[in-house]
């Protein structure tokens, strides 16, 4: 009896202990990334001949304040996980607590160099890019088609453009839109500007004081040649490019082309506004595409929603791009095992499993062809990232997140009318100069 009890206890402990030598991975919780990572991990753990020390166990915390908690954990030298979530804009912040990773030769053929670069800092690879985030311009194809087919509507459009933008623009197909064409279209489809508009608002801008909203905004100044710094490292946000972008947003907000409480909007609120059918266009993260084109989730607009890369400017067409990925904790207890898992994740085989389970990797070549039949949305993702993707100078620096936060506070202040454009840009320049100097 006693020996049975001891054996049962030992067996229980063996099953209950999560394997001391296992690889522990802290993932990005609560979205398609979690589902995809779980599927890939399951496949990895099911591989024949996998050593016990290489089995992967996933950990997830709450998404709210995830990066803040991660910063505190890493700074404290945690050994609770061997590999963890990182993002392009936070690599510089976490790099001192991470070990660069060798993804092997397969990585370049799976992702392509431009996508791999989104997980690099100081010329070193810090992570495997599992999910790509960039921006689409979402628009109502039914409304645009009707506008293009109606001469009277086109005349009214031109009048509105002349009145608000000082230029007699004519309606164009969305793939020819500049930011000014987009603005004119947004004004035309705004009830406050054009009482005959079929929608209440022509656009929905995300203007909450939140760093991610500035990522959405900054493709506009970028199309006018804007950058955070010049080559010498001098901050250059007080430029015509940023002034043009900020003014265009402000003009649309003041004209009522976006809901008046857009100053409190982020991803979810903007999607809800667009899905209501009362908004004609929206620049939004690619992650919204699945929801807005699903007839069950967005019955009013799913069938008539089209996507394209954001509008162009004098310097070209651009989309902010960043990736989520997984990198190595410098204090990891099983660094070798974690390294092997990350190398496997960078193979076409792993990424096919990941993509089929709902992830959004930026794939290229044969890796893309293997899954594009089931995930057609991944094709423009890779295409836009390579053709229009950019990262601002300093966009992966240690204080990149703080810079976005600073811009969010200052720019939203200008849009909401609590501070002048000159003051907002002067404060941003001063703050960015200090942050880029590491103060």
């Amino acid at each position: 009896m006693q020996s049975t009890t001891i054996s049962a206890t030992l067996a229980f402990l063996a099953l209950a202990t999560p394997g001391l030598a296992e690889v522990t991975v802290l993932g990005w919780p609560g979205g398609p990334e979690e589902t995809a990572l779980r599927a890939a991990t399951e496949a990895y753990n099911a591989r024949e001949g996998l050593a016990d020390a290489d089995r992967v166990e996933l950990l997830f915390t709450s998404r709210d304040g995830f990066y803040d908690k991660l910063a505190a954990d890493l700074a404290a030298g945690t050994t609770a996980f061997d590999a963890h979530q990182i993002a392009t804009y936070s690599i510089g912040r976490y790099a001192p607590f991470m070990t660069p990773v060798d993804l092997g030769p397969a990585a370049a053929t799976t992702f392509g160099e431009s996508v791999l670069a989104t997980q690099q800092f100081d010329g070193k690879q810090f992570g495997v890019p599992t999910d790509l985030s960039l921006h689409f311009l979402y628009y109502r194809s039914d409304l645009i088609d009707a506008l293009l087919a109606d001469a009277d509507a086109a005349a009214r459009y031109t009048e509105i453009a002349q009145e608000h933008l000082g230029e007699a623009l004519t309606p164009k197909a969305p793939d020819e839109w500049t930011w000014r064409d987009w603005a004119a279209t947004a004004l035309y489809f705004t009830k406050a500007v054009n009482p005959d508009s079929p929608t209440r608002y022509g656009a929905v801008l995300q203007m909450k004081n939140l760093l991610f909203n500035i990522m959405v905004f900054q493709s506009l100044p970028r199309a006018y040649g804007g950058d955070w710094t010049d080559e010498a490292g001098k901050v250059t946000v007080d430029s015509e490019a940023y002034r043009t972008g900020l003014d265009l947003y402000k003009m649309l907000y003041d004209a009522g082309a976006t809901p008046p409480d857009s100053t409190g909007y982020e991803f979810a609120e903007a999607n809800a506004a667009y899905a209501s059918g009362q908004v004609a266009t929206m620049v939004q993260w690619n992650a919204a595409a699945a929801e807005l084109t699903d007839p069950e989730k967005a019955p009013t607009v799913a069938a008539v929603t089209a996507t394209i890369a954001p509008p162009s400017g004098p310097e070209g067409r651009f989309t902010h791009v960043h990736s989520l990925g997984l990198g190595l904790n410098a204090a990891a207890e099983n660094k070798e095992g974690a390294q092997r898992f990350l190398q496997w994740l960078a193979t076409p085989e792993a990424m096919a499993i990941y993509a089929r389970a709902g992830g959004a990797p930026g794939l290229t070549g044969a890796a893309l062809e293997a899954v594009v039949g089931e995930r057609p949305d991944l094709a423009p993702l890779g295409e836009y990232a390579s053709q229009y993707g950019y990262v601002m100078r300093g966009g992966t620096s240690a204080n990149a997140l703080a810079i976005y936060q600073l811009q969010a506070a200052e720019f939203t202040g200008y849009w909401a009318g609590t501070e002048s454009l000159d003051q907002a840009l002067a404060d941003t320049t001063k703050g960015m100069t200090e942050l880029l100097a590491g103060k």
Binding site: G65, D68, A71, A72, L74, A75, A76, R93, P96, F97, M207, K208, N209, L210, L211, P259, P260, D261, T263, G264, E269, A272, A273, A275, S276, Q278, A398, N399, L401, A402, Q405, L406, A409, E410, T412, G413, Y414, W415, A416, G417, T418, E419, A424
Partner: protein, 289 residues
């Protein structure tokens, strides 16, 4: 020579003192130390003492003073309305609550909701396209205020706070009002006092300690507001809804300015301590008078 009783008391109090020292004392000392240091996430274990630079930086930051002003305005306004409304409801509903005490449980339900959840709930309820309130306003009047727009947001967050925490004041006042001895009211009636006069001259003075307590608790809670506002509108456009705790949080985590953030928290703690000290001293004097 220490009396055996005193020794015993000290012995019994030791675990509590150690517990407080560990859980409050250590973080406080560390906080003060970091606030006097040049420190970042990278140098948490090797901070460099730098004097009062962080304090100077905070005190010369206009955003800090805007946050102080927001917190004070928010705290004073919400505490005043909550206390006034709670007192009015406690007196007005007293006969009903005496007859049906279960109603009190219903009325105090809002205080059981986590403030962050409250923020999330109103984020949905006030959204122009999915929120029930704007929906019905559009249906009935053809338009709706944009509750979270710059012109409205301060009043919106105040109303949300007041709706959630007035029941707390009501609960305190109801208990205090019910515990006024019946013979005191009877004596006032015998002396010819009625209605408003009884309330003004007899009941209100007896409620004053509760009133002061409710006001202080709600003022402190209002000044340190964080979760519901942060979930609802973040720091607000241009930082317009940045309370002191939100200022500290964003400076620490988002801005990576650990030293200045902790200096702000030390200043906040000193101001709170001074305020409490003065309030308690005033209460003591009043009680002694």
């Amino acid at each position: 020579m220490i009396a055996p009783k005193t020794r015993e008391n000290r012995l019994l109090a030791t675990p509590l003192v150690l517990y407080l020292l560990l859980l409050l004392g250590f973080p406080t000392v560390l906080n003060v130390f970091y606030s006097l240091s040049e420190v970042s996430f990278e140098t948490l274990r090797t901070p460099r003492l730098s004097g009062f630079g962080n304090f100077t930086a905070v005190l010369s930051d206009p955003a800090f003073w805007r946050a102080v002003w927001f917190s004070l305005r928010f705290g004073v306004l919400t505490a005043t309305v909550e206390v006034a409304l709670g007192l009015f409801l406690a007196v007005f509903l007293s006969p009903l609550l005496q007859a049906r005490p279960w109603l009190l449980a219903l009325l105090t339900l809002p205080i059981m909701i986590a403030p962050a959840m409250m923020g999330l709930m109103y984020r949905l309820a006030l959204h122009e396209f999915v929120g029930p309130l704007p929906y019905y306003l559009f249906e009935w009047f053809g338009n709706s205020p944009a509750f979270l727009s710059p012109g409205w947001v301060f009043w919106t967050v105040c109303v949300i706070e007041i709706l959630q925490w007035t029941p707390f004041a009501l609960l305190l006042f109801h208990l205090a009002y019910s515990s006024i001895p019946a013979d005191v009211r009877e004596a006032a009636r015998m002396d010819g006092a009625r209605g408003w006069r009884t309330f003004r001259r007899v009941e209100l003075p007896m409620l004053m300690p509760t009133l002061a307590l409710a006001a202080v608790i709600r003022l402190i809670d209002g000044i340190r507001v964080f979760d519901n506002i942060y979930v609802l509108v973040g720091a607000g456009p241009g930082g317009s809804t940045t309370s002191l705790p939100i200022y500290i949080y964003t400076a620490f985590f988002r801005g990576g300015s650990l030293g200045p953030a902790l200096a702000a928290s030390v200043l906040f703690a000193i101001a709170a301590f001074a305020g409490l000290f003065l309030a308690l001293r005033a209460a003591d004097r009043r009680a002694g008078a």
